[in-house]
């Protein structure tokens, strides 16, 4: 078996990013769109940590901590918006919320 290189991690991260992007762009349920955003942010973190190991320097991990912070804030605010939205519109389907659509 080949040893695992940084490229392996980059390919894995790209694949996870693709899955997350497909989820964001194609699903109608807002909860699952938010989960897909978490997948995308995790793909970024894999990348950061892979390069952190490649260069043997922890800056990448510090940045991953900041990414996680932003992800937490995003999830909290996003789910708050979702609750407010469900209370007013009684729907969680992204394409039924079209108030700003021309």
């Amino acid at each position: 078996m080949h040893p695992i290189t940084t490229t392996h991690y980059l390919i894995l991260s790209a694949a996870l990013l693709g899955i997350g992007t497909v989820g964001v762009l194609t699903r109608r349920n807002i909860v699952i769109i938010l989960m897909s955003i978490e997948l995308i942010l995790n793909a970024v973190n894999i990348n950061l940590v892979a390069f952190s190991r490649h260069y043997q320097h922890v800056t990448g991990q510090v940045f991953a901590i900041f990414v996680i912070t932003v992800a937490v804030a995003e999830a909290a605010v996003g789910l708050g918006i979702l609750i407010a939205l469900f209370r007013n519109k009684e729907t969680v389907q992204a394409d039924e919320i079209e108030l700003l659509k021309w």
Binding site: M1, L10, A73
Partner: protein, 167 residues
């Protein structure tokens, strides 16, 4: 060495399989559980790369915090009828085509031998991962760290205001 390889493929399988199930399942609870599997896979990858602190943060914060929040909202918002209707929007094939194009581009890019600078040698001092992260976080990145705390405060206040019945 081969154990590392085996673990990498195992965690990669968890991550990608969980991700695919998250995106394709009908029920939001099934999606959330698949997302937990995926996040645990990512945590395993962190551990494999000797990022022990991030491994702990990933488990505690994502699997313990964010996922509980997601499940809480799924229970709060009635998703039973959302599981019965059409799951994908009408432009799904456009999105899939775009992602495939981008994926092919990244694949082409990674297929060439990557001209990364040579991997650095591991440092010789016997500091642990947590000490290194803390050293950097509290010296060079102290200002971003404090700004992150303000961001979290704003997010907490914002989500409470957003979810309140009457402001």
């Amino acid at each position: 060495m081969w154990l590392d390889t085996a673990f990498f493929y195992f965690f990669a399988l968890l991550t990608l399989g969980g991700g695919i199930f998250t995106v394709t399942r009908k029920s939001a609870v099934h999606s959330a559980i698949s997302l937990i599997v995926s996040l645990i896979g990512v945590a395993g990858l962190f551990l494999l790369q000797k990022a022990e602190f991030l491994f702990a943060v990933q488990i505690v914060l994502y699997v313990g915090g964010i996922m509980v929040l997601f499940l809480f909202v799924i229970m709060l918002v009635n998703l039973d009828e959302a599981a019965r209707v059409r799951q994908f929007n009408k432009q799904w094939w456009v999105a899939l085509a775009c992602v495939l194009v981008v994926g092919a581009e990244i694949g082409l890019f990674l297929n060439k031998p990557l001209r990364l600078p040579a991997a650095a040698l591991p440092p010789t001092d016997n500091l642990g991962n947590v000490e290194r992260v803390a050293d950097l976080l509290f010296s060079q990145y102290l200002l971003p760290f404090e700004i992150a705390s303000i961001l979290l405060l704003a997010a907490v206040v914002g989500s409470v205001v957003m979810a309140k019945k009457r402001v």
